[in-house]
């Protein structure tokens, strides 16, 4: 993906955030009897964000820079994040030790393609280590 195209989309997203901030700040008091209200500061940084995002979008459209962003490894990063999200979702259902052990198993077995028993051992040992260090040694509650 060209860097300019990525700038275009990220500028658009941040522009949207800037407009949202302005819209919200508009609803709050700007200046009252006691001085600036809760809408004062957000309104100004919202305007700045919208303006700078617009500048980024325009410069990305006008850019002739051929620089690209390397997304080849990104699939692995997104897969890991997806696994983390599933592990967090499972926390309430199966608890930290099982969900964390499963996440370790996934990273070792799928992402790093270790043998099944190596990945399983890594998962079990990592979960056991966390149990030993946090609840047992430090008295810290696990999720």
């Amino acid at each position: 993906m060209r860097a300019a195209r990525a700038d275009f989309w990220s500028g658009l997203a941040l522009g949207g955030l800037g407009v949202y901030i302005i819209a919200q700040a508009w609803r709050w008091e700007y200046l009252g009897n006691d001085g600036p209200g809760p809408g004062f500061f957000p309104l100004w940084y919202g305007i700045a964000m919208a303006g700078l995002s617009l500048a980024l979008v325009i410069s990305s459209v006008r850019s002739s820079d051929g620089e690209t962003i390397d997304w080849t490894g990104a699939r692995r990063a997104f897969a890991t994040w997806g696994a983390l999200a599933v592990a967090v979702a499972l926390l309430k259902v199966v608890g930290f030790l099982i969900s964390f052990g499963a996440l370790t198993f996934f990273i070792a077995g799928v992402m790093y393609q270790r043998r099944l028993w190596v990945a399983a051992l890594a998962g079990v040992l990592a979960a056991a280590a966390f149990y030993a260090v946090f609840p047992l040694a430090l008295g810290v509650k696990l999720p």
């Binding site: 700038d7 955030l17 001085g35 809760p38 700078l52 990104a74 926390l91 370790t104 990592a126 509650k141």
Partner: protein, 501 residues
């Protein structure tokens, strides 16, 4: 309190067995973190922050600071043995350090790096001791407009040097300000940007954002690659790690140059240790009688950047402790730690907490000695850390991040936020948005808004108060000039050169 009695009190605090232990743990952890490419001090400090709530604040700050300066020592190991900097500040060390290692002089390079780090670390501590108290006294005269202007200048400096695009750096900072604004407004009790969620009424915890952006973001970025680099062998035995007399003679100016350059650059917000190490390396090369040898493995090419990198730590702590203005991601996390423990870094900090301040200063003297003793004979052991398989290391980092956040708030919502900020941190890296302005915007956002609103209350809503007071007028003018640098072609080219190098 004068410096001598302050330092005596500091040593009384730092020399307590429990504080010696935490100082040792900090520098050891810092060295290990520095050795590992991809896991930096801000991520480690942020991850460990929740665990420090159980500790005495003096022990906790001694340990966290130990991680900060310990990482600078450790960063040189991978730079020299792997040609991979453990952190960005060690990039300049790669140039000559790796070449020395390739020529069979890895031991001497590691020894020079350790000695340079020790000398510069000590210079940095002396600098804090001498500069911080008078600066704090001067800042006592500041009122809200001056504070607002000072924070604006600090943020502008960070934005200036954070990345190639100042627009992106500014946008990252504004996102940080927005995140800081989420929650209940303390002046009017209005809830802002809470999306109707009860969990957001008290705002987003800094720890959640820092752990997400730094720790999870770094793990995701490191997950992109599968292969690890191969390290050059470390010579066995202390004698083989000692540089020769000629090496030390060649490096004597580099020790002094790096220490002074690093310290002064450290005091400036935003510049940071990477820029300090490059400037020091460039200066050393410029004054050298053999500049053509630089990059081929000269000891002074290792000594200068390593000294600058380490002295910068002392300099960077000064604005954080005396003005409450952090100049980098790591000092922002340390500032947040002090605030979370109930302290208010700023001009009154040293006077109100002499034991904590001087205890920290004294612990840094002790920590630097510990690091020298640890690093010289134990380098081969630290190099073994590089053998930790990624499929073990990364889940452990994720696990510590999750448990750390949950232990602070007991809220699964915060764990979700960590995952979300982790994705944000990763995307920021990919899209070339710097994370330092976001973190500084988040840390300073609340105080910046408070100072602005208090200033305007003082002047019945007139913004002229910000420019009618000389100190704030000068600082705001400087901030404006800093932000206008991209408009001046020549200055902008210099800025880009500093960043790209």
């Amino acid at each position: 309190m004068d410096i001598a009695s302050g330092l005596l009190q500091g040593f009384a605090v730092a020399a307590q067995p429990v504080n010696l232990l935490w100082c040792f743990v900090g520098v050891l952890l810092g060295t290990v973190v520095g050795v590992m490419p991809g896991l930096g001090p801000p991520a480690t400090i942020a991850m460990l922050l929740p665990l420090t709530f159980l500790m005495n604040p003096a022990s906790a700050i001694i340990m966290l600071a130990g991680i900060y300066y310990g990482a600078k020592y450790g960063g040189s190991t991978t730079a020299i043995l792997l040609n991979v900097p453990g952190e960005s500040a060690s990039v300049a060390t790669c140039f000559d350090g790796y070449q020395m290692a390739r020529r069979g002089r890895a031991g001497a390079a590691l020894g020079i790096a350790a000695i340079a780090s020790f000398i510069a670390g000590t210079v940095g501590v002396i600098g804090i001791m001498l500069v911080a108290p008078p600066l704090a006294r001067m800042a006592l005269a500041f009122s809200s407009p001056e504070y607002f202007a000072l924070m604006a200048l600090g943020l502008a400096m960070v934005v200036l040097l954070a990345g190639r695009s100042m627009v992106k750096a500014l946008l990252a900072m504004l996102v940080g300000l927005w995140l800081a604004g989420i929650g209940t407004d303390l002046f009017s009790q209005t809830s802002r940007f809470t999306f109707g969620r009860m969990e957001l009424l008290s705002g987003i915890d800094f720890v959640v954002v820092a752990i997400g952006v730094f720790a999870i973001g770094e793990v995701l970025a490191n997950m992109e690659g599968r292969e690890a680099a191969k390290a050059l062998p470390v010579p066995k035995g202390l004698r083989n790690l000692l540089p020769t007399g000629q090496d030390l003679k060649d490096s004597r100016f580099a020790f002094a140059n790096g220490s002074l350059v690093g310290f002064f650059i450290g005091v400036l917000p935003g510049a940071g240790s990477t820029i300090a190490s490059f400037i020091s390396y460039g200066l050393e090369k410029a004054v050298s009688r053999r500049p053509q040898e630089f990059g081929k493995g000269v000891p002074e090419g290792v000594a200068a950047p390593e000294a600058a990198n380490n002295a910068e730590t002392g300099g960077a702590l000064i604005p954080m402790l005396t003005l409450g203005i952090p100049g980098s991601s790591t000092t922002a996390v340390l500032l947040a730690a002090l605030v979370l423990w109930g302290f208010k870094p700023g001009p009154l900090f040293i006077g109100e907490n002499p034991a904590l301040f001087w205890g920290l200063v004294a612990s840094m003297y002790i920590g630097n000695v510990m690091l020298l003793v640890l690093n010289m004979p134990l380098v081969p052991l630290f190099a073994q850390v590089l053998r930790t398989p990624a499929y073990v290391l990364y889940p452990l980092i994720i696990g510590i991040a999750v448990v750390g956040v949950y232990s602070t708030s007991g809220s699964l919502f915060d764990v979700w936020l960590v995952a979300a900020f982790g994705l944000l941190g990763y995307l920021m890296r990919k899209l070339d948005y710097p994370s330092a302005p976001l973190i500084l915007g988040l840390v300073l956002g609340g105080a910046l808004e408070r100072a602005l609103r208090q200033s305007l209350m003082m002047s019945d809503g007139s913004v002229s108060i910000l420019v009618s007071r000389p100190v704030s007028a000068v600082m705001l003018s400087l901030a404006l000039l800093v932000l206008l640098i991209p408009v001046f072609g020549k200055l902008n080219r210099l800025r880009l050169q500093a960043i790209e190098k």
